[in-house]
């Protein structure tokens, strides 16, 4: 071999170490970059299929089309983003304050219905009073979203004052019962909410300030809208959790009595956490109705609460981005099973059972969730490496000493 030839820069081991280092430092940035251009990537995939077909590469086109089935579509990514926001908001309570709410569907639903009802009914010839209709030729989404923030904050605060004094199972049961009241109300007042058929007639949702239509017509624009709103609120939650208040939440989770004796008004802290969590869940609920342009009643049904518990535990309640991982896995698996896998095995049409089974496995075998487990492994690995390094350094120092000693003799 020519010794002058440039040597490979990395051995495979070094390469993996380098890769994990890069991912550690820039992982979030890389992910964010992918998310930012995601709709273009997916469009490119679609276009490549058309291009291949046009150029008589039928077979290749078929293969690529087959592959596309395994790539999350832009609408699916919208769903994943929304449930990421929802899960991270939910995790303010579960992972950080140690409160398991089984009633978060109430906020998710209320947020959706607030926006839905405003867009469905603030129109000529409906329930809305004339002054309201004449104020907006077309109700801008900004107005309904701000209303949604106010309404869901208020509802969260109200429910919070009722349940945040409860603990453990009682808290879970009270939140569950209250959310059932919301569900049955949505069902009962079907003139307003559309009842079990869902609330339709939302076909004109636009951002008034930049005169941009969002909704089913354009997945990419909806994607970016949802992306921006989600990122803003996720960043806000991230800041809150690292703030002094975030530390108080963890103290309350770890030892409520100790936190109280330290001087914290635990009831107020829990109420504050609950209100924040509920309010942001409401915003997630509002985002969730935009692409579909309907409010399905399932959004306010207990199923949704169950989903968000599963999503959060999938990814790991002890980590900030756990719900993001959970949301991706949940929706991606669901999509794969119900659309792709069923082509080969009919049994996959019962995707709920499969997801449930996987959930059981995760709870049994990786109770800290996927991201939680990865993080624990990384920490362990680092500690080991550090200890190794220390041992080597000590051995070297000892060697040097011994040598010095023999030389002196």
């Amino acid at each position: 071999m020519d010794s002058a030839a440039p040597k490979n820069r990395f051995t495979p081991r070094e390469f993996w170490a380098w890769l994990s280092e890069v991912f550690d430092n820039y992982g979030i940035l890389i992910l964010a970059a992918i998310l930012v251009i995601y709709p273009f990537l997916f469009d490119a995939l679609n276009e490549s299929i058309i291009w291949l077909e046009d150029n008589d590469w039928e077979e290749t086109a078929e293969i690529v089309a087959e592959f596309r089935g395994f790539v999350p579509s832009t609408p699916l990514m919208i769903q994943i983003l929304i449930y990421t926001l929802f899960g991270i908001a939910f995790n303010i309570l579960l992972g950080n304050t140690g409160m398991l709410s089984l009633g978060h569907c109430a906020f998710f639903g209320v947020g959706g219905y607030t926006v839905g009802i405003m867009h469905a009914w603030i129109k000529p010839g409906t329930y809305a009073p004339d002054w309201m209709v004449s104020a907006f030729k077309v109700l801008p989404l900004e107005i309904s979203l701000i209303t949604c923030v106010i309404v869901s904050t208020f509802v969260a605060w109200l429910i919070g004052t009722i349940c945040s004094t409860k603990r453990g199972v009682y808290f879970a049961m009270v939140t569950l019962s209250i959310s059932m009241i919301f569900y049955y109300s949505a069902q009962t007042f079907d003139d307003l909410t559309g009842g079990t058929d869902g609330l339709g007639g939302l076909e004109n949702m636009r951002l008034g300030s930049i005169n941009l239509r969002v909704g089913i017509m354009d997945a990419n624009i909806t994607y970016y809208f949802v992306f921006i709103v989600s990122v803003v609120f996720i960043a806000a939650i991230w800041q809150v959790l690292r703030s002094p208040f975030g530390h108080v939440l963890r103290a309350v989770r770890e030892n409520e009595n100790r936190a109280r004796i330290c001087g914290y008004n635990v009831a107020k802290v829990r109420l504050m956490a609950f209100t924040m969590s509920g309010a942001i869940s409401g915003i997630a609920g509002a985002l969730a109705i935009i692409y579909g342009e309907t409010v399905p009643i399932e959004n306010i049904h207990f199923i949704t609460s169950g989903q968000i518990v599963i999503i959060t535990l999938f990814g790991g309640a002890g980590t900030f981005l756990g719900p993001a991982v959970g949301s991706f896995i949940y929706w991606y698996l669901r999509q794969l099973m119900s659309v792709e896998f069923v082509k080969y095995l009919a049994i996959f049409q019962y995707w709920e059972a499969w997801v449930g089974g996987i959930f059981v496995l995760i709870v049994l075998f990786v109770p800290s969730g996927i991201l939680g487990t990865i993080r624990n492994m990384t920490l362990e690995y680092r500690e080991k490496k550090l200890l190794n390094r220390k041992a080597v350094a000590e051995a070297l120092a000892k060697n040097a000493e011994d040598e010095a000693a023999t030389e002196a003799e």
Partner: protein, 244 residues
């Protein structure tokens, strides 16, 4: 003027009378001990002073104000700090964080926009306390992984971080080795004045060694009170407690 006073303070648990009409007063800067056999009501008495329990009848007066029904967290802000008979810390938080969260309670609860390390004074104060309780080297370890004795000290540190005027220590040497116990006694002595300390303790060597005054509780009621010598000489106390 006494910093702490109880007037005819009682606590009933159903038919059980755990604390029975206790009148008690502590002056600022004193180091006082309460002794009494198991079940005498010492912990229950502490619980009513710190606010863990609301008295059945009677009053707790702290710093001139009746605090009998004030919630525990407010009493903490008024200057009552305590430790528990069974170690009560944040086991899954780091040692530093245990202290820092206590110190933070004096400054802010609902601060959402800053970060904790940016509050330098919190970190400095916590480090100072870690120095005093001799845990500086373990500051980044999880509190739950500390040795028992170290956890006892950590809990005292947590209480100190809330800048109390009155410190209630419920059997701080419980489960410690004889050497640790002696050390702890000295440590507690070093905390007293200006801090007022009330100590519940079973180890008579510690109690007799450091207390200004000793109070004996028996079956929830006040039995005797006095200096070390007086209590030693009291025949009644000898009968119920000091039978050595």
């Amino acid at each position: 003027m006494p910093i702490l006073e109880t007037k005819n303070l009682s606590k009933h648990f159903g038919a059980l009378i755990a604390v029975d009409g206790v009148d008690y007063a502590v002056d600022s800067g004193e180091l006082r001990s309460i002794i009494g056999p198991n079940g005498a009501g010492k912990t229950t008495f502490f619980n009513m002073i710190a606010g863990d329990l609301i008295p059945t009848s009677g009053q707790v007066i702290f710093d001139g104000a009746d605090v009998s029904e004030v919630p525990a967290h407010e009493r903490s802000h008024m200057g009552i700090g305590r430790t528990y008979q069974i170690t009560n810390i944040f086991p899954k938080l780091s040692v530093l964080e245990n202290i820092r969260i206590a110190a933070q309670s004096r400054k802010m609860t609902f601060n959402l926009w800053s970060t904790v390390p940016s509050h330098k004074e919190l970190v400095e104060k916590s480090d100072g306390i870690l120095e005093r309780i001799n845990l500086t080297e373990k500051r980044d370890e999880l509190a739950g992984t500390l040795a028992h004795g170290e956890q006892r000290y950590l809990e005292i540190g947590i209480a100190l971080a809330t800048d109390p005027k009155l410190l209630l220590l419920d059997e701080p040497t419980a489960g410690m080795s004889p050497e640790e116990t002696i050390q702890t006694g000295e440590f507690i002595k070093s905390l007293a004045d200006p801090l007022t300390i009330v100590l519940v303790e079973h180890d008579m060597e510690v109690v007799l060694g450091i207390s200004d005054k000793i109070t004996v509780l028996h079956n929830g009621a006040f039995l005797a009170e006095g200096t070390v010598e007086e209590v030693r000489a009291n025949a009644e106390v000898q009968r119920v407690y000091l039978r050595e």
